[in-house]
Amino acid sequence: MSKLSLSVGPQHPGSGHMRIILTLSGDYIIEAIPDPGYVHRGEEKLAEYRTYIQNIPHLERPVLLDATGAIFPYILAVEDLMNIIVPERAQFIRVIMAELNRIISHLYYMAIYGIFMGHSTMFMWPVGDREVFIDLANNIAGQRVSYAFLVPGGVRNDMPEIVKERAEKACNYFEKHLIEYERIFMNNPLFEKRTKGVGILSKQDAIRLGVVGPTLRASGVKSDVRKDDTYSVYDQLDFEIPVSNACDSWSRAWIHMEEMRQSMSIIRQCLKRIPAGPVKLNLKQIKVPPGESFSRVEAARGTLSYYLISDGGKVPYRVRIMTPSFRNLITIPNIMKGVMLADMPPTYWGIDYWPVEADR
């Protein structure tokens, strides 16, 4: 069969903001080379011209679906340099926001997965349920998507009383609805036929390539920053990490669904244990002494880490961001071998690759 070179480019509904150059033999993909860089903006250089507080709305924009997960490691790095201890109530509120953002990002993942499979109901249900959690985040932080809620020293405002009962009702509703999700989306025989056995990434390959996030857990490696290198109050909470041994697209989608259940259990525990107290240290100014610090956090898509160098001035000297999509970019040439052309968009979306955060 002769070879055909096809460019699934930036102006294609199945690709996102990047280009993938495919070499096809008939209908099977032999080679796939990603071509990122269409949305590169120079976020790391731009961060050197803004003060530590002005960087907060700036640095949460690349990973906008999971805004709290994007800014959490930056705040941890700055607090590490400043050597301050954040009050307990602020840490619990940060964990609640982080888990809400995880649910919101995973629901968006399922919605776009549905579009690529041609299943319009799989688009409408997650987007509708996402409204429930965006409404909760609105009640806590004041905005629906881009919060700028975490500052060095705590969080910007206190959580109102109405959030406790609304979150309880929302979690009850969504747990019932997740059972329906399993029946209609995950266990649908046509969905299984299309995704089981497609896009295999074996365990040795996953460890060798340095993959992070749900993609790693779908290949059988039990690794999560919240348990391995715990930060904030995660050591006081009780949750599990879903792992699957079948390294295909179906198990990646399944792990995203199971993580949503664990997130809801974490939110319930936080709401029970949250103590009263201040939510922000009353710092007169943000003065960061010179030094370097490194911090990492489990964002919705994987491990997000920051490396911050400060020289004592008003602006940081160097901000290095390592996003999970950039680490997972290396899987695209490896999992596309032998996949048919019609399955290329769901497989590439299955590793939860978001081009904007990979390019920064």
Partner: protein
């Protein structure tokens, strides 16, 4: 501009225009002379039918437009107007039902109640748009494809028995006619893709061809089971044979195979590979705009109704049902039961649309050539077994 360059081409176009004019005018005047009465006759009839309406009906009967004439059957009742109304309402129902299944509200503002006039609003919008033909396509051929597709869909309506007397054409070989028409559809799809002269419609048309040809065979073999039990190819006799028990109870596997093949032949989601996949252009429908597109959509829904009607006739007992209207209205009762059963079949197809993702082409063809074919042969052998052991007599067929 550059077409009229020589005198001979000018003369050729002039002759074509003159001949066309002559033919059109002749046809028009002869139609008018036959159908339109003189003004005096019209005045008489209108005045006299104010007191006595049956005179008007007699007059229409005499002219050939009466309630029992072929014109009425083709144009109004089980024919085009009825099918077009059902097609429009099924479009509305499909959008509303899918919306309800997806946590949202469907069409809401067109028409005072719940958006009932939305399909008509869509048709009016389509009429006002411009028909664009690609410059590199064969223009007249390209524009004749919607007419061909609509005619094929409407031809399927001709053999559908809506009730005991209301069938446009009753013939001894109705089942063969159905399969001849169904077999012509892939050719029309291929012509539609070829006439557009562009890459994506052609790929979509080829996939449509593969899909439709692969699934005609299981459909034929499951119909063979029905034909063996009844011993005739006439659709009205098939319904008469089901007066005691419906065939779906005798041959459930055959009904399942026929239903699956029906959805696949109609290219509905989850099997809409020629239309919505194809590098996410619209397949063979890509280059059609405005009323050409509207015509093809109408044809798709009329074909949906016709095939659902055929499924009802063969497996669900046609027009039989308990008498829910008072005793003078048998024919209306039969029409109501036929319509209810057809609508239930269509609702099941719509539910399947809301719940499933799209299949891949190789999974589809593998399913057609292996699983469905084996199931339909199994059904055939079961039917022969039932006939041989004379279990049929026990259920009173």
């Amino acid at each position: 501009m550059s077409k009229i360059q020589t005198f001979s081409s000018f003369v050729k176009r002039l002759i074509i225009v003159i001949i066309g004019l002559l033919i059109t005018l002749t046809l028009l005047f002869s139609l008018l002379a036959y159908f339109v009465p003189s003004v005096k006759e019209l005045q008489n009839i209108l005045l006299s039918s104010i007191g006595n309406p049956s005179l008007m009906l007699n007059y229409l009967d005499q002219k050939g437009f009466g309630l029992n004439s072929l014109f009425f059957k083709v144009a109004v009742f089980p024919g085009f107007t009825w099918a077009a109304l059902i097609a429009a309402e099924i479009i509305w129902f499909e959008r509303k039902f899918l919306a309800k299944m997806q946590m949202r509200v469907g069409p809401l503002y067109a028409g005072k109640i719940a958006g009932l006039l939305q399909p008509i609003a869509d048709v009016v919008k389509l009429v006002f748009k411009e028909i664009i033909t690609p410059s590199s396509s064969d223009k007249w051929f390209f524009l004749s494809i919607p007419i061909i597709i609509t005619s094929i869909a409407a031809a399927l309506l001709a053999v559908l028995p809506v009730s005991e007397g209301w069938i446009i054409m009753r013939s001894d070989v109705s089942v063969l006619i159905i399969f001849a028409i169904v077999g012509f559809v892939p050719i029309a799809v291929l012509l539609g893709g070829w006439a557009s002269n562009s890459k994506y419609p052609f790929i979509g048309a080829l996939r449509g061809l593969h899909q439709m040809i692969a699934f005609e065979i299981p459909m034929l073999i499951s119909t063979l089971g029905v034909v063996l039990v009844t011993g005739t190819l006439d659709l009205v006799n098939i319904v008469y044979t089901q007066s005691n028990v419906w065939f779906i109870l005798l041959m459930p596997i055959g009904a399942f195979v026929f239903f699956s093949c029906m959805i696949i032949e109609l290219e509905r989601i989850p099997f809409d590979l020629p239309e919505a996949e194809s590098e996410i252009a619209s397949g063979y429908l890509t280059e059609y705009t405005s009323m050409a597109f509207g015509n093809i959509q109408l044809a798709i829904y009329i074909r949906f109704y016709a095939m659902a009607g055929i499924f009802t006739t063969m497996f669900l007992g046609g027009w039989y049902g308990p008498q829910i209207l008072p005793n003078g209205f048998e024919i209306a009762n039969q029409v109501i039961w036929f319509t209810i059963k057809t609508l239930l079949v269509m609702i099941l197809a719509i539910v399947l649309r809301g719940v499933n993702p799209r299949v891949r082409i190789d999974l589809l063809l593998r399913m057609g050539w292996s699983s469905l074919l084996i199931l339909s042969f199994a059904n055939l052998f079961l039917v022969i077994l039932i006939l041989q052991t004379e279990l049929i007599q026990m259920v009173g067929v």
